[in-house]
Amino acid sequence: MKLGLLELRRRPGQFGVAGGALAFLTLLLIFLGGLLDGLIGGSTGLLRAQSAELIVYSDDARASLVRSRLDPATIAAIGDVEGVSAVGGLGVAQVGARVLDADGQPRTDEVESVAVVGYELSATEVPDPPPVGEAYVDSSLGASVGDVVAIGPEQLEVEVVGAVDDTSYLLQPGVWVSPETYEQVLAAARPDLAMAPGVFQAALVRTADGVDPDVVAARVDDATGSTSTLTIDDAIAALPGVEDQEGTFGIVIGATFVVVGVVAALFFALITIERTGLYGVLKALGSSNLGVVASLVTQAVVVALVAFALGLGAILAASGVLAGAVPFDLSLERAVSTGVGLVIMSVVGSLLSARRVWRVDPASVIG
């Protein structure tokens, strides 16, 4: 093992090209993972922010907020179901908005797309609904407390009274308002989606302590006869594109990890062939097969770690630019899992050369 490290220190150039290829593969893997996390995170923040266990849609909506409608009678019926401790309506309108400056003028010519969320139940990340004309705004919109946001073509103004994090919906920053403000926004900006007072797209349900949410979900659907109730996790998975994105990116990331293994296998196969004679000498001098293989594996781990550090460094350096161009979000978990995967695949690849090491005959050294 020590010999493997010594060789790495004395002849690092020999490992340079393989390390470079693995560094680019690391870059590719982290970029793919960050892109997936950015896409999913930006689409699901509204649901992940909820403290409720369940969300109720109309049964023909296929778990889509846009297509779902629940009337006041249905929402009241949900509240009466055994095991439900609280219920509140939820509605989202995707509209354009402008952050105004102190003079009441738009800060930029650009109109931002936002998701105006009308809600009745507080969420983990969002307090109780603010008074009419005020809003909690997702920090990704770039508005601060005290700023005014003008929503829709009618420029309906709401004052920012708090900032919230990670509450986007379909990659649009959340603007959280009271049901009354939400109705005003719909009437002014999306009259095509206007709903009667008390009608919401969905309802959030908190379940009583100790009650299985799945059981409550079934009871809700039985009681109303016209709803489809999902746990928040299932609702996240049912958002348009989430499962497809995870599946497609999974194929690409999986294939890239296999490439890592094959590249490592190829490189160590080549250097093992080059050193067959030296391995014979080492074995003749008493080194064990395991010791020689351990040297190879050590080298694989070190090359993978250096490649990972290079790839990670490159992506961190570029992350500022990336975040502006694509929905890229690099999390610690993603970085760690990529690093672990890289090391595992490199070790697996290098172990393919173990058979050749085992076959080296120490007697061949003396002819």
Binding site: V17, E112, P191
Partner: protein
């Protein structure tokens, strides 16, 4: 040349691993290329394959069809702008469709028959002429959207009969129905009983003969307050998400191409260095350099060829397994262009090995102690 082929035969594992690595990388490149093309086509095909030269959004929609809503007065105002030959409402609604007894996500468009905004890629049947008729995306014909099928639009329960099929005219990666404007109004009224009226999402514009659509689009945006007019091709390119998808895939593909070049470079460089003694001997016994170079490139070509076969095979398999949500269309020309680029990258990647090969000196052979030299 025979020698290089024999070398491959004797070192199956090494060349097999290289072929496998290149094959997987070719698969990654091809898969993402196909995915990008199919995704964009399925995302904006409806916008791309309709007859309007210019489409007009509400300014606040940020060029999102789903986010745009215009009043009938705007349609009239757009029609009065110089250079506009005809203006018609174009509606779009994301909805739930019931076909073959299954509920699926879908999009419904409403257009004025004979006016701008008509679908242009009808491949079977005819365009709808009255409410209750629809043209559906051909890609979904097998899932209950075939000619003669009845599809229910939810909520509201409005039923439409498929009388025509369009090609590559889906929207938002989902089954897409084209209805007459009256049919669309009926469907939306059934779904949104509380809405005061059905609003057009866009205005579809036909420009007068000889007018430049881009110039007319600028004039419309300037003349009609609260609108944002774009040519058809700009509308497709500016659809929210399209630029981000292109940038992301471009980065991923670029990295994959770099890795192909690097893997081939390090393999053939190491191999050439390891063989340098044997190569100098071959040079010393009179084998011309040209033959050694030919041997190197024969090996590169074989490895890339095997990789191309593996990669293409895997893409064909993956296309079956990706699911119904996004039908992947594999265009032979696109595959050929991608493989051509892989070959070019392989050529560049092997330059390091070529340089090392050209440095092989026949006199090195007589300097080797094992051959009686005095090194």
């Amino acid at each position: 040349m025979r020698l290089s082929l024999r070398e491959i035969r004797r070192a199956k594992l090494r060349f097999g691993l290289l072929g496998g690595a290149v094959g997987l990388l070719v698969f990654l490149i091809l898969f993402q290329q196909v995915l990008l093309g199919s995704l964009l086509e399925s995302f904006t095909g409806a916008l791309e394959r309709q007859s309007a030269d210019v489409v007009v959004y509400s300014e606040d929609a940020r060029r999102s069809v789903a986010g745009s809503i215009l009043s009938p007065e705007v349609v009239e105002a757009v029609g009065a702008v110089p250079g506009v030959a005809a203006a018609a409402p174009l509606g779009e609604r994301t909805t739930t469709l019931s076909a073959n007894g299954e509920l699926v996500d879908g999009s419904v468009f409403g257009f004025v028959p004979g006016g701008p905004g008509e679908p242009t890629a009808l491949v079977e049947g005819r365009l709808p002429a009255s409410p209750g008729e629809a043209a559906a995306s051909r890609e979904d014909a097998a899932d209950g959207f075939g000619l003669g099928a009845t599809v229910t639009v939810e909520p509201g329960g409005a039923e439409v009969t498929v009388v025509g099929l369009t090609d590559r005219s889906r929207f938002s990666v989902s089954p897409t129905l084209w209805l007459t404007w009256e049919g669309y109004v009926e469907v939306v009224e059934a779904a949104e009983p509380d809405a005061p009226m059905v609003f057009p999402s866009l205005v579809a514009v036909a420009t007068e003969a000889g007018e430049e659509p881009a110039a007319v689009a600028v004039d419309i945006s300037a003349a009609v307050e609260g609108t944002d007019a774009l040519t058809r091709s700009d509308a497709v390119a500016e659809t929210p998400g399209v630029a981000e998808v292109r940038t992301s895939f471009l980065l991923i593909l670029s990295l994959a191409y770099v890795v192909v070049g690097l893997v081939l470079a390090f393999f053939f460089l190491i191999l050439t260095v390891q063989k340098s003694a044997a190569l100098s001997l071959l040079r010393a016994v009179g084998i011309p350099m040209r033959e050694l170079v030919t041997g190197l490139y024969l090996q590169v070509a074989l490895v890339v060829g095997i990789g191309a076969v593996i990669g293409t095979g895997l893409v064909l398999l993956a296309a079956q397994g990706v699911g119904d949500a996004l039908p992947l269309s594999i265009e032979p020309l696109e595959v050929a262009a991608t493989l051509g680029l892989v070959v070019a990258v392989a050529g560049v990647g092997s330059l390091l090995a070529l340089r090392r090969l050209l440095q092989v000196d026949p006199t090195d052979a007589v300097a080797r102690p094992s051959l009686g030299g005095l090194a």
